[in-house]
Structure formats: structure tokens, C-alpha cells
Symmetry: C2
């Protein structure tokens, strides 16, 4: 009712399984973080995922895409269940959103905070950001097969990489490094994937010249997995392709205390389409509907959403609330999804 | 001089850097293991690697290939130095050997033995075998680029996968699982790389029917990295493609105590060409020539060589010697490459 109140127009895809449980907690945290800011959160739910596919055979129609495109941002829980054939929702929904909305920056931070156990004996300071390319590489769906089911079957998968596609994500990664500890590591496999690898190398070198304060290094993807478990503190910003980023960020999530805490942002920095925020974990059908899911990864994804929309201070409060909650956990018994949500909401308010 | 003595005709590629230091220790261990067996080791050195390339511009000629092809097996140290452009020795030498000699099984065991520190806080029992496909996938060199160096550059990398190529390595992996703890895990990313992934899936299912005692499961490559650091004891045999195998085995090596202990075998089970045995570590130019390199990975690669040539008992003695040496290490100070070699040779003799 005040004239200066603005609206954050959010599309919400709860999806399947624990998506229905964690997303509402994320929205509560978002609202709490924006209380008193004059920004009102308006949500529109979209029925997408395994449930819809089972009922209708649809994954994501053109109408869905146009409707989603009108929002400022998208919050997604998780999609999938064991009865959907592999690839249907990945290619037909998740990747269709990422590619259709040109989410060329896939941002995945890892921060090991006090109170959280890492599988590593001596993790040291873990605080790095993986900037994963989101619209190219082996994810483009440019493969095929012939003589399927026979002894003569041949199947291909083509990784497509363009100078424009690599440069825009590399530039984004350098800008992040400039704001952080000023170190950027390219991860690829240029000794084997020489064409794509050399494209990435040359572009990192060229864009790096615009960021003279940022130290640049390189690791082959295989070696990077070693460093992630033996010396993760060496990393600040990692920039890498879509598939290597997929692999490294799951490993990173494990090191940072588990996939239950890992947030991600699928960003189109041009603003031409809404960016999308999602926890890295899946729909976890085994624990769905029981109130056992940890909403923390969703709440941390909300912090990335707040950052993206320019509410840096609100984002910082959300992260502080999560840190405080994680630090206090060892003293507490098991809590339900909504109990953790309650704790996070009041911590956001008092942060 | 006895009539029943036979010859093991071994090609030796020391390569570069620490390759020159670790390979001689591997040969000593091999000879020690075969003492009294009536098998005489005859070695022929081949000058291949960065050194040769710097002098002659050659990586691996047709003559080299024909000469190598006449041996029973190849022992390789490591190739490369920082002054060789990326890809030259990888594609022109290492991968040319693996592809030219049709090394379709790339065997990489991980065993965490007493006395060895893992970066994991609570590794549990770690004893698994990665069977990495060696002649297909994104490693085939089937990529290219156009408009190189311009803003319109496009670079591709094609993963090629055939039913024959997948089936033969999958069958090998099942046979290994049958002899071990009877569990096989396929690792791929069939929800995104649907064509290649579904080929692998179908073949694992079909070949699995011939091994009813072997339990089969599946993990996406990203999830597999999580399990490797949170619950590595779940794995017995992992079968996977060339690139995923490259990545997972470096991570596996780290978990098993480091790349300095990781052995590998590039096997052509048909015997049409010699198989090749190599430590996973590289030429380590930073420590080369100083007697600091640990020859253990080479000695363990020799155990794989002995296994491959049917000397299972000798292989077991080599592994027992390594285990004993590793178990005793914490009490010892730093030892040189040849001191570790001495210790292993006498342990092999007394095992
Ligand atoms: C579900 C799958 C398509 C997705 C990916 O591979 O990107 C997931 O693993 C992720 O990391 O977000
Ligand atoms: C050096 C390189 C070509 C090789 C590979 O990628 O296979 C290495 O990383 C390995 O794992 O043996």
C-alpha cells in the first residue's frame, strides 16, 4: 500500500519429491529476508516435473516457457522420480530451461563452515566458486546412434564449443575472481580434448589480460579431482565446461558437507530471460513426504537469487542465518524440514 | 642354460623425468619376483618421449610401433616435460600406443593398505578396481575447429562409442567382478549423454545376464565422485568410459594414498598386441633427477604385468612386498628412489 513498494515476481517450480517440502521453506526465508525492504514477493506456481509428465506426457511446453519467461526469476526444487525414463526430464525440462533461457553461467559455491563435517580429514579453508558453463559442451544434445540394439551400433555425443559461448562465461568468472581472492583456475582436459581445450585456453589467456590482478592457473580435470580432496583451499574461482563442471561440483558439494547444503544458480547475466535458482540435490524419492529433507540448499539458493537481483544485504543475512544454524546443529537433535525452516526464518529476521 | 628356461621379452620406455628413475626399480622388482621361476627377463629400451621429440621432432614412428609390437609386453615410466606443447605426446605417443595396440581395457586398482594415509577422515575398507575403456569415447581424437582464433570459432569433440567396443570391456569387467566380490557398478551420465549412455546401459544389462552371481548397479559420474569420498567401500568393480575413467581414477588414486602409489595396465586381452603397464603419475619434472621419486606405483604396475602374463604367484609376492614396505614406512625417515627399490627387492625375495 505504500507507493514505493516493488514486487519480486517469482516463478516457483516445486517439482517432485522433496521439492514440495524444501521450496516453501526457501520462499519463507526469501520473504523474511525482504521484510521491511519494500519488496513484496509474489509467487506463481508451475506444475512441472515427473507428476505432470505421468499425468499428461508433457515435460515443458512452449506455453510453459512463455509464461515462465515473463517472471523475474525462477525457484526450482527438484524434478524426477524413478518411474520416468532417464533423460526425459533432464533433457526435456531441466536442460530445456537452462538452454532455452540461455543460462550460460551455472554458479556453484562451496564453503565449508564451522559445525559442518567434511569427509576430508584435514580440509583446511574451503571457500571456492565453480563457474560452470551452462549452454554448450557435451550437454548440447548433439549426439545420435545408428543400428541401435545390434552388434553394429554406433553412438555419438558431440561437444560443441564456441568462442562467444566460452568468452562470456570466462569473462563472468574473471569478474567474480576480481571481487574475491583474485585467483582463477581453468579446468579442462586440453591435452586430450585438444580442440575444445585450446579454445578455452586461448580465451582465458585473452580475457585474463583485462584482469591483470587476477592470477590464472590451469588444472586438467583429472588432476583437479585430486586437488579437491588433498588441497581444496588452493581454489578461489574455477571456470570450466558444462560436463566437467557437473562432475566437479558434485565432488565439491561432498567436500563442503554434502549435497544437502549445495546451492546453485543458473544465470543469464544479460537479463534477457529469468535466471533460475535450484539446490543441487535431487528429488530424493526415498525420503520424500516425511519432513526429513534439509531445506538449507534451497535457502542458500535463495541467497544467490537475492544477490542476483541486487539485494546483497538481504543475501548476506540469509547466509549468516544458515551459518549460525549450521554452527548450532551438533547440539540439537534431528529436526524436521519445517523446524529447520522456522529456525532459519527467525535467524534471518534477527541477523 | 637350463632347457626349460623361457624369456620374458619386455619393451621398456622409461620416457622422461622420473621415468628414468622409477622404471629401473620396477625391472629389479620384476627380476626378483621371477627368480627361480625359470623365466629370464630380457629388456629392450626404447627412446621415446619429450627428449626424443626435442631432438628429432618424432613422437612415435611406424618403425617404433612395429618394433614395440614384437615384444610380449611394454613397461612405461612417464612421458612429458613442460616445454612440449599440450597434446603432442598425449595424442602422438601415449594414446597412439593405447589405440594402436588396441588396449581396450585400462585397469586401475585402488587399495588402501595399512600404513598409508588417505585424505579421507574415515575411508573404511577401500579395495576396488576401475575398468576404464581405453579405445573409444571422447578420446578418439574425432574433433575439430573452424575459424580458429576468431570470435566465430567453433570447436567440437566427438565421443564415439560402439557396441563391440563397449561389450568387450564390459565382459572383461564382469569377469573381474566374478573373481572378486561380485559387484559391478556402471558409471556414466546416461541422463544427459543419452545415446552413448543408453548403449552402455543396454550392454551392461545384456552381458550381466551371463553373470547371474554379479550384482549390478549404476551411478552417474557426478554422483560417483560423491560416493568415492563418502563411501568408497561400496565399490568393487567399476566399469566406465574412457574420459569418466580418467577422472575417477585420479580421484581414486588420491583416496588410495596418492598418485605415487597408483598402478595401471593397458591391456589387449586378445594378445594380438603387447599390453602396456604404467604408473598413473607423470614425469614430475620438479623432482626429476634427485632420487626423490617413489617407485612404488611402477612396482605395482609390474605386479599387474606379472598377473597378465600368468605369473599370479609372483604378482602376489610383489604386492605383499609393497604392502609390507608401506606398513613399515611411518617408522622410517625419507628414503631415496633406489633405497625404496632395494627394500622392495629384498621384500619380494623374502615374501
Ligand atoms: C540432472 C542433471 C541433468 C543435472 C546436470 O547434469 O547438470 C544435475 O546433475 C546438475 O548438476 O544440476
Ligand atoms: C596423459 C593423459 C593422456 C592420460 C589420460 O588422459 O588418459 C593420463 O591422464 C592417464 O590417466 O593415463
Amino acid at each position: 500500500t505504500t507507493t514505493d513498494s516493488t514486487v519480486l515476481d517469482l516463478a516457483v517450480i516445486e517439482g517432485d519429491g522433496i521439492g514440495h517440502e524444501v521450496v516453501p521453506q526457501g520462499i519463507r526465508a526469501l520473504e523474511a529476508a525482504l521484510e521491511g525492504s519494500g519488496v513484496e514477493v509474489r509467487t506463481t506456481g508451475y506444475d512441472l516435473g515427473a507428476g505432470r509428465w505421468h499425468r499428461t506426457g508433457e515435460t515443458l511446453t512452449d506455453e510453459d516457457m512463455s509464461a515462465l519467461a515473463r517472471h523475474e526469476a525462477i525457484l526450482l526444487g527438484a524434478v524426477g522420480d524413478p518411474d520416468v525414463p532417464s533423460g526425459v526430464l533432464e533433457r526435456g525440462l531441466l536442460l530445456k530451461l537452462r538452454f532455452g533461457f540461455d543460462h550460460f553461467v551455472n554458479l556453484r559455491p562451496t564453503r565449508l563452515v564451522p559445525g559442518v563435517a567434511s569427509p576430508l580429514a584435514d580440509p583446511g579453508e574451503v571457500d571456492f566458486l565453480v563457474v560452470r558453463e551452462g549452454t554448450e559442451g557435451p550437454y548440447v544434445g548433439n549426439g545420435g546412434a545408428m543400428r541401435v540394439g545390434t552388434d553394429l551400433e554406433v553412438a555419438t555425443e558431440v561437444s560443441l564449443n564456441t568462442a562467444v559461448g566460452v568468452e562470456r562465461v570466462v569473462r563472468y568468472a574473471f569478474a567474480q575472481a576480481q571481487r574475491r581472492r583474485k585467483k582463477l583456475t581453468l579446468v579442462h582436459k586440453h591435452n586430450v580434448l585438444v580442440h575444445a581445450g585450446h579454445l578455452w585456453r586461448r580465451i582465458v589467456e585473452r580475457v585474463g589480460a583485462e584482469f591483470p590482478e587476477v592470477a590464472v592457473d590451469y588444472a586438467h580435470v583429472d588432476a583437479a579431482t585430486i586437488y579437491l580432496v588433498t588441497d581444496p583451499s588452493r581454489y578461489d574461482v574455477i571456470v570450466t565446461d558444462n560436463l566437467f563442471g557437473d562432475i566437479l561440483t558434485d565432488l565439491a558439494a561432498a567436500i563442503g558437507g554434502g549435497i544437502g547444503l549445495a546451492a546453485s544458480a543458473n544465470i543469464n547475466p544479460t537479463g534477457a530471460f529469468p535466471s533460475m535458482f535450484e539446490p543441487v540435490h535431487g528429488s530424493a524419492p526415498d525420503i520424500a513426504g516425511k519432513g526429513l529433507a534439509d531445506p538449507t540448499a534451497t535457502v542458500l539458493s535463495v541467497a544467490l537469487l537475492l544477490d542476483h537481483l541486487g539485494h546483497a544485504e538481504a543475501a548476506a543475512r540469509v547466509r549468516a542465518a544458515v551459518d549460525a544454524d549450521l554452527a548450532a546443529r551438533s547440539g540439537l537433535g534431528a529436526r524436521s524440514t519445517s523446524e529447520i525452516g522456522d529456525a532459519l526464518v527467525s535467524a534471518v529476521r534477527s541477523a
